[in-house]
Every structure is written in C-alpha cells, then in structure tokens.
C-alpha cells in the first residue's frame, strides 16, 4: 500500500470507529472517497480499522474505474459506438488506468465524476433538462469533494466551452441553455458540496477550511518535493511501447478534430484536453497518478483515430484484405498493451523502476509486522507493546493495525517501556540509552528511506 492509500484507509478506519469526517486541507482531501469506501467496507464486514484489507479498500477505486468504463455506454450518442467501445477497452486493459484505478486514492473516483460531468452537461445542454443539470452538479460536487484541484478542471472546462463555441460553433445556430436550468445546477452543486464537506451537517467548520484550501494548494503547486519538468506527463504517458502507440494514435485523433473544426463533442474534448494538459504541465507539482486525468480524452482520441484508420483501409484496400490486415494489427496492439500492463501492474507493481510506482512502499516493509509477530510468539508475548518514534511514520499505522498496543511518538517526546521499538534513522540517536540492549534491523519504507526495528540484542 502506498502511503497515501494508508492515510485514506486510516480515515475510513476513523469513520468505522464512529468518528465523523473532519475536513482539513493541510492534512487530507475532501470526503468523497471515504463516503464511498465506508459503506463498501461495512458490506465487506469491517467494523474497525484493523478489519480493513488491502483488496477491500481498493475495491472502492476499482468500482469507480468500472463506472468510468460503463459510462462509455452512455457516451455512444456523443462519440460514436466504435470509438466508445475501443476507449472502454483501453480503460479496461491499458497499464496506466489499470494501475491507478486500483490505488486507494481519489483519482479513480475523480475521473469517473469528470466523465459523468461531461456526459450529463452535454445532455443537459441539448435537452435543457433540470434533472440532467442536477446530475451535472452532483458530478461537479463529487469532483470537488474528491480533490480541490477540481477547480482547475472547472476552469479548463469553462475555457474549452468558450473556445469551442467561438471557434467551432459561432456560425451555427445552437440552442442556449435556460437560466432556470443553470440556476438549478448551481443550487444543487452548492447544496451537495455543503452536505459532503460538512459530513452531512456534522462539521460546519469545514466550509471555512474549504476557503483556506485555495491558498494552501496554491502553495503546494510550487512542488513541495514533487516538482518535475514540464514534459513529465508526456514522458510518463509515452515511456512504454504501448504508451507511445496510444499517444501517437491520440495525436492523429486530435489533429483530425482540430483540422476539421469538428462541431461534435470531440471538438470540445480536444480543447479541454489541451487546456488541462497545459495547466498540469505548467504546475511544478506533479505526481504520476494525475496523468489518469488525461486518459479519458486520450483513449477517445486514440479510438477515433483507429476508426478513421479502419475507414481509410476500407477505402484503399479490398475488404477481404482490409479485414485480416486490420485484425492482425489490432491483435498485435492488444498483445503489446496487455504485455505492458502485466509488467507494470502485476509483475513489477512496487518496483522502483516502474514509473507508476511513485514513492511506493517497499516490499521489504511487509516483513516488519511478520518479524514482530514471530518474535512475540517466540518470547510468549501475547500482545506486544510497540513504540514507533518518527516524524513521519506513514504507512506504518496501516501495517501495524493488527497489533492492539501501538503508540506513535514524535522524535524527542518521552515514551514508555515497550517490547519493540521502531524508530526513524534520525530519531534513534536521541534514545540510545533506552535502546542500549537492542539490536537494530533495517527495513525499507520507500526507496532510499529506512526505518529501524529494535530487537533485544542476542546475548
């Protein structure tokens, strides 16, 4: 489990224990992920943090990813049957969405809500429907309650709508959405956001905290150790053969759309993608899972290119040659994608050479609770007392959740007697008198980050 997943699981654990969600932009994102994970955890039989399992909490993200795939079924009218089918298939098998759609972080749900927002907004516009406008508002509220960076998406969507109208639709007669529908959507967005952030009316301070989130995230955008070059996402998306192939297809798709001044939803999606990619690339703070936001447009553009290539091959080749040639190429492409997915998602999921495994927890850490259990068993300690001293102990609360007596201290704080001590490498020196009769065993927390488990020294 990645540290961010461990933090999210801990929040679900707090909710299972009867606490309410307290929004604090310094510490956590909005409550949407926890709100979805909590009922799922209960259905799975979890009653406390220690009952949670890795697969159990990740089911929430898998469910959100599945919703994204299913939403392509509702997008056929806008994007066409074949592109939707291909794009859904790409979401289901390509390495990046498969990798991050099972991470227990907010991106998977955020992506599903974004797709829901685009679909319902387009339908609401076309049909002037109050119901669909409310659905759009609900998706927007979920996006905001997932991550505060939803504001950037709203901005990119608004600019894309304007440019799309100005460049592609200005000379055509289009129906305008009624003010009543817009007002209903705005009211629904505010209402649902308030409901979610205040955790159903239990924490009204969350609204003030939400206002403080803007300066907080503006500061974080500078990097905070996660700053990367402008071309980071382009590099991430194209650093495998399947990634290069899909990005090349997506470029063909975008070129077609822009060249034709496409008045379909593809035109709007192209502008949205370009603005969003520019925003995310210009912000120094970058993490690989944010690239999932590009996958919805990329998969649709690539699918559109595949459809166009099929049409072209039908035009220039006899059908009896076009079908087998296209089938062979499609099969090779699928094999390439599946191979890359297998390598990145299953074989080297936590390997530091995997570009998706960003500051991922080292496999080695899985041995720490096992070693404590084994030593406790050997020394007939039924419930070992474990003291953890580290300024940043994450993700240890997750890995030590099955032990009943675990305490966490900041370096320098006095702590009690324990059977096992776990210290960060920096903290150990301050406790050398206490640790005199212990021997340290190193464990890797993340690549380049070590922690020490202090065991009774052999006589």
């Amino acid at each position: 489990m990645h540290t961010d997943e461990a933090v999210n699981a801990y929040i679900v654990g707090q909710l299972l224990a009867g606490e309410s969600f307290t929004y604090d932009p310094q510490d956590r994102h909005g409550p949407a992920l926890a709100a979805l994970a909590l009922p799922l955890a209960r259905v799975e039989g979890a009653r406390a943090f220690s009952d949670l399992t890795e697969s159990g909490v990740r089911l929430t993200s898998v469910l959100a990813g599945t919703i994204t795939i299913l939403l392509f079924g509702a997008a056929v009218e806008m994007f066409g049957f074949a592109p939707c089918l291909i794009a859904a298939g790409l979401f289901a098998i390509a390495s990046l969405p498969v990798y991050y759609d099972r991470y227990f972080i907010h991106e998977s749900l955020f992506g599903a809500a974004t797709f829901g927002l685009i679909l319902s907004a387009c339908h609401a516009w076309g049909k002037n429907s109050v119901g669909l406008a409310s659905l759009t508002a609900a998706c927007a509220a979920i996006m905001l309650a997932c991550k505060e960076t939803a504001i950037l998406h709203f901005l990119a969507l608004a600019v894309a709508v304007f440019v799309f109208w100005f460049w592609n639709l200005r000379r055509r007669s289009i129906g305008w959405i009624r003010p009543r529908v817009v007002l209903t959507a705005a009211a629904a967005f505010v209402f649902l956001s308030v409901i979610l952030f205040t955790w159903f009316g239990q924490d009204w301070k969350a609204l003030a905290a939400l206002l403080h989130a803007v300066p907080n995230f503006a500061m974080r955008a500078a990097g905070e150790g996660h700053q990367k070059p402008i071309g980071y996402y382009a590099q991430l998306l194209t650093n495998s053969w399947s990634g290069r192939m899909l990005c090349a297809l997506a470029c063909i798709g975008i070129f077609q759309i822009v060249r034709k001044r496409d008045s379909s939803t593809y035109g709007f999606l192209a502008y949205y993608f370009l603005f969003l990619a520019a925003i995310y690339s210009l912000i120094p703070y970058k993490t690989p899972w944010l690239a999932l936001n590009f996958w919805l447009p990329i998969s649709l553009f690539a699918a559109l290119a595949v459809e166009s290539l099929w049409r072209m091959s039908k035009r220039y080749l006899p059908l009896r040659a076009a079908i087998p040639a296209f089938s062979i190429l499609a099969a090779l492409a699928v094999v390439l994608i599946v191979h890359d997915t297998r390598q990145r998602v299953f074989v080297h999921a936590a390997d530091e050479t995997n570009p998706y495994a960003y500051a991922h927890t080292s496999e080695d850490l899985l041995g720490l609770p096992m070693e404590i259990s084994e030593l406790a068993r050997r020394n007939s300690i039924a419930s070992p007392r474990i003291v953890v001293i580290a300024s940043d102990p994450w993700p240890l609360p997750w890995y030590l959740r099955h032990f009943a007596q675990v305490g966490f201290w900041q370096p320098g704080q006095p702590m009690g007697e324990a059977d096992f001590y776990i210290t960060s490498t920096e903290a150990a020196e301050q406790y050398k008198d206490r640790l005199h009769n212990f021997r340290p065993d190193f464990f890797g927390v993340r690549p380049g980050v070590l922690i020490l488990l202090w065991l009774p020294a052999p006589k």
């Binding site: 080695d364 065993d441 890797g444 070590l450």
Partner: protein, 222 residues
C-alpha cells in the same frame, strides 16, 4: 645488574626495530572510488549496535606492500546462474559506478557469488559494493574464504552480520551497514584461501541481491 639492563634495552630496541620494519612494510590500500550518487538517508550516529556512518573519506587501511586486487577478471560463479539483471562478470570488471548497467542482480532470497582467485592467496581486505545509488541495507551479509570450491571444508568466515542466523551459517556479530559509494571494507587479517564467497539475502528495497563490484586485496601465498 648493568648486564641485565643492557639486555633489556637491546630487546626493547629489537622490538622497536621489528615494529618499525613491519610499519614500513605496510602501505595504505589504494582503490578508486566511484562517484557518489546520493547524499544519503540520515543515519543515526553513536547508536549502540549500529555501524556509525563514515564522515567523509574512510580512514586509510594498511595492507602489506605488494598487495593487489586479486579478484579482477577472475572466474565468478553464483547460486543464481540466470541473473535478473546483468551478467556475473560485472562483479569484478573494475566498474564501480552505481549507474544502470554496472551491477548484476541475483534472484530473490539467499544468494551467493564466488570468486576463484586461481591460486591460494593471503587475503588482507575485501571491498564490496552491492548498490550505491540509494540508501540500502543488504541483509545477512556473510563473507567466507576457503580452499574448497564447494565451501564444505576449511571455511573461514571473515564477516557475518546475519545475527538471526537466517542463512544457517551461524549467527553473526558484525553490524548492519548502509551501502555507500565507498563500499564496505572487510578486514580479512591475512586469511589464506583460493575461493571467496559472499552471501546476502535481499535488501531493504526488494528481495533481490545486487553486486556492483567485489575487490579481494591480497598477495599470492608463498
């Protein structure tokens, strides 16, 4: 009485001369260090049972004059004949850089590499670089020397930090250490042997076993 004093003085002078001669015969071990690749995870200082990190360059280690790296380009064998990354010849090719392509990576769990020095030698120091592009600790590092290629007889263990005896070679008392670009220097104290075997059992990042370079400093036995 005067005679006794004279004899004592003569003996003392002889001892001084012998020590001086021996000191003159020793020279600092000279090895080329690779470029450091990471600043380093903070490692606790002055903590019981933990090897203190080096501040700056390692102090000189003295070996008899004429001591050379006997391992370079000698035959390497290993418990894993199909390494995950690289080839076994990388263990003693003289390249200590920590970049990709410089190391051989053996499979997960307990593994060893063995160097055949071709002749029995007096070994004074072994330098080993497992991996130095990030802070890592290799588990259960054991270094043995023997004249038997199968390490069934005449085995001398010169380093063992497998304090839990996970390798079943006997519990070791040496300390864990964090890998750095300076490598780990093991004092072999002139032990005689033809084969050097180095064990490890995964590391703090993954279960694999890496070797960038191993140097065996010694002189062919007379």
């Amino acid at each position: 009485m005067r005679r006794i004093v004279s004899i004592n003085l003569a003996v003392l002078a002889g001892v001084f001369v012998a020590i001086a001669a021996q000191a003159q015969d020793k020279v600092p071990l000279q090895t080329q260090l690779p470029k450091p690749l990471f600043v380093g995870t903070p490692v606790p200082l002055n903590v019981p049972n933990l090897e203190p990190p080096m501040k700056g360059k390692r102090p000189d280690f003295y070996v008899p004059a004429g001591t050379v790296n006997l391992a370079k380009n000698k035959k390497i064998t290993a418990s894993d004949n199909s390494p995950v990354v690289g080839t076994l010849d990388l263990v003693n090719d003289g390249d200590k850089a920590g970049d990709e392509g410089s190391w051989v990576e053996l499979g997960p769990g307990k593994q060893w590499v063995q160097i055949d020095l071709a002749k029995t030698a007096n070994i004074y120091a072994i330098l080993v670089w497992h991996f130095h592009s990030q802070a890592r600790v290799y588990r259960d590092v054991v270094v043995q020397v023997s004249d038997d290629a199968t390490f069934k007889s005449g085995v001398t263990t010169i380093f063992n930090n497998d304090f839990k005896n996970d390798l079943s070679l006997g519990a070791g008392k040496d300390l864990n250490y964090v890998e750095t670009y300076q490598g780990k220097l093991i004092d072999a104290k002139g032990v005689k042997g033809r084969y050097v075997r180095l064990y490890s059992n995964g590391n703090t990042t993954n279960k694999l076993n890496d070797y960038i370079e191993v140097e065996v400093w010694g002189k062919p036995a007379a």
